[in-house]
Symmetry: C2
Subunit: 407 residues, 2 copies
């Protein structure tokens, strides 16, 4: 029976955390010196595990096993957000490696195996899911040409040069090779912690619909323009956002979330009535019907605002992804494994964050497993998970992979 | 009978507009080369009118008449906002000069006269009402030391050097010299135009109470943080601003205005729940009781927001001036003059903008006269007033000054 080695798992995770260590977390942006070193180190660990490991032309690290029978693909990403947590994507990479090792060490599993993939730039330093989109064949050269680091402005092409990967070909998935893709990740929220649970089985990865609201009014003097005469774009925006705040809870799904992340009033001066106002608004849900309903409500509310107000409000949808449904049989396999290792301490839940698995789900049956985030903290250097939960999650993943490989 | 000369008046105004001409308006910031030249030119016009004119150590231009009897002080400011209108403060300067000329030209008015004052930097390029506060004795050397241009960063002390005014003493008012201060100005709003009126008699200059609202919540991931768990500082600010929007119309005065000029969400990213939100909010009214009532309502609403919300909202009053009441007898004099020259086409109204007269009102009985702004436009190069209204206003001002000088 394939069994993980907790000391090896935790030791690898802690070594990973040394690449770009920052306080108790890591600062390891895509293709920074510390990220390049971490990829090389991880490729070596893959080779030690008996995988043929190569880093490709977009910095994906891909390790192939030699099994002749059924195979599963597992992995995640290893760069971090700026000054962020030590686990995040690194956890899913080390879990996949440990699964490959544990299964290859089980004499009963000789014919089957696990390939390990590390997808580049899931955190979006240069673009949007560049690694997993490259691996699943939906990233063209033109987009790579245009990808630049959002902080430094360095192009992706230039950033690949110091690593020696600029001219390498890119790995592309052979879907016929795999029975499934499984990814593990920290929850990044506190659903598990609050309910005293230890394993989350992801039902779907939410779609993200991004909007810009623009209100055009009339810029004017804040002292000499009467309230009756004003066309205050900022005030009209506030009224619209409050309408959403009142309407959405009546029609949303149980897991819907919506966020106004940014508001800009123009010119933004204390004594000037804003002539223009903009907001960035985001909607996430795993249920297409709910997304459609909320989108339609936004347009209805805009109509009401324009009919009753003195400004011109427009709702512009900037992007709209589709929810990625996780495979039902894989969810069942994860649930059986969770029930065996942590009876009654698991739950099915959607993922509110995006993950590489949403791209792999287009090519393979895919599923995800979550382990708890202490305090729900994510994308901050204080992010953490207990060793016991880290070890438990790895074994649940291995059990589920074994289940798939033997089915 | 003191009578203005329309051609002389309009010609002086048009010459003024050549100093820093910008499209159909002017760009004449305080102590720019064009502003310095305009002051020198205006001091010469004062001398031609028989006044002893001097520019002082803060760039105020002060012209004294030789009359032995009753005297009135009149004037305004001559610098402009950036890329703004040709009339604004220049109008009140030329009106005062024309009043001094018209009255000195009337043989019946030999014993009385008009002093003319041009107050520096009313538009606040370097500070807050520096010229009129200097003239009324409430500006100390320390504040001048610290005054810097809000665009260029140049200190006021340095800016005075090229003009040769840096080491001059500053004129300070002798209140015993004057029966009154009168200032004319464009309305900067459209109350007059909308009601088809030609003269506004200012009852009071509003007080401006400036606030900062700060909401502290919890920064978090916009995908993984459930609506139930969020402490969204931006949303809480929106709710508070909407509460004000609903409550204030019920308790405000007939001329109250309030404005949210700026909103900042921190960090202002589309996928991050704002952990902090700030707004700049401003309240203007000429009635102290109304100001107190609205201020108290802000604190009550903040209490309600804090009791019901999940963030911490604070209302911070950054500044609170007092309304400047215009003198009743002077208002009556202006009203008699307006009724004579434009029967039924005048109205008493508060000034929603600040003016030098609010500082002079602390030392002398003071009053203001408004003429219409076409389309209510102000602080923009398209600002304008018809020649007929310009000419009418000057004569009404002269009539009112004569009234005061003869009473």
């Amino acid at each position: 029976m394939a069994t993980i080695k907790p000391e090896r798992l935790l030791s690898d995770l802690r070594t990973f955390a040394a690449f770009g260590a920052y306080k108790t977390g890591v600062h390891r942006p895509t293709l920074s010196a510390q990220d390049i070193a971490a990829r090389e180190w991880f490729a070596e660990r893959m080779r030690e595990a008996g995988l043929d490991a190569e880093i490709d032309g977009i910095a994906n690290v891909f390790g192939k096993c030699h099994a002749s029978g059924r195979k599963v693909l597992s992995g995640s990403h290893l760069e971090s957000q700026n000054h962020a947590g030590w686990l995040d994507g690194a956890l899913g990479c080390v879990y996949a490696l440990e699964a490959a090792r544990a299964i290859s060490e089980d004499p009963a599993m000789r014919q089957v195996g696990v390939d390990v993939a590390v997808f580049s730039d899931e955190e979006g330093h240069f673009g949007s899911f560049l690694g997993s989109r490259s691996f699943t064949g939906v990233l063209d050269e033109r987009e790579i040409d245009g990808a630049t680091n959002r902080v430094t402005g360095l192009s992706l092409r230039q950033a690949l040069v110091p690593a020696g990967w600029a001219d390498r070909p890119r790995h592309v998935i052979d879907p016929s090779r795999y029975a499934a893709f499984l990814e593990a990740h920290i929850e990044q929220g506190n659903t598990l912690e609050n309910a005293n649970l230890r394993i989350g089985i992801v039902t779907a990865i939410v779609a993200i619909w991004q909007y810009r609201f623009t209100v055009v009014g009339e810029q004017n003097h804040a002292g000499t323009t009467s309230m009756a005469r004003r066309r205050d774009a900022g005030l009209e925006l506030v009224r619209f956002l409050r309408m959403i705040d009142q309407r959405f809870p009546e029609i949303c799904g149980p897991h819907s979330v919506w966020t106004t992340g940014r508001i800009d009033l123009d010119p933004g001066e204390k004594s000037i009535i804003p002539g223009k106002a903009e907001a960035l608004f985001q909607l996430r849900d795993a249920d297409q019907a709910v997304l459609d309903r909320l989108d339609s409500a936004l347009n209805d509310l805009a109509q009401i605002a324009n009919d009753g107000g003195r400004c011109r409000l427009t709702v512009e949808r900037l992007s709209a992804s589709t929810p990625a449904l996780m495979d039902g049989a894989l969810q069942a396999a994860l649930e059986r494994a969770a029930e065996r290792r942590a009876p009654g301490q698991h739950i099915r839940m959607p993922s509110g964050a995006g993950h590489d698995a949403q791209w792999l789900a287009r090519k393979l049956p895919a599923a995800m497993l979550f382990i708890p985030s202490i305090g729900g903290i994510s994308h901050h250097w204080t992010e953490n998970t207990s060793d016991a939960d880290i070890v438990l999650g790895a074994q649940v993943l291995v059990d589920a992979i074994v289940d798939v490989l033997q089915s």
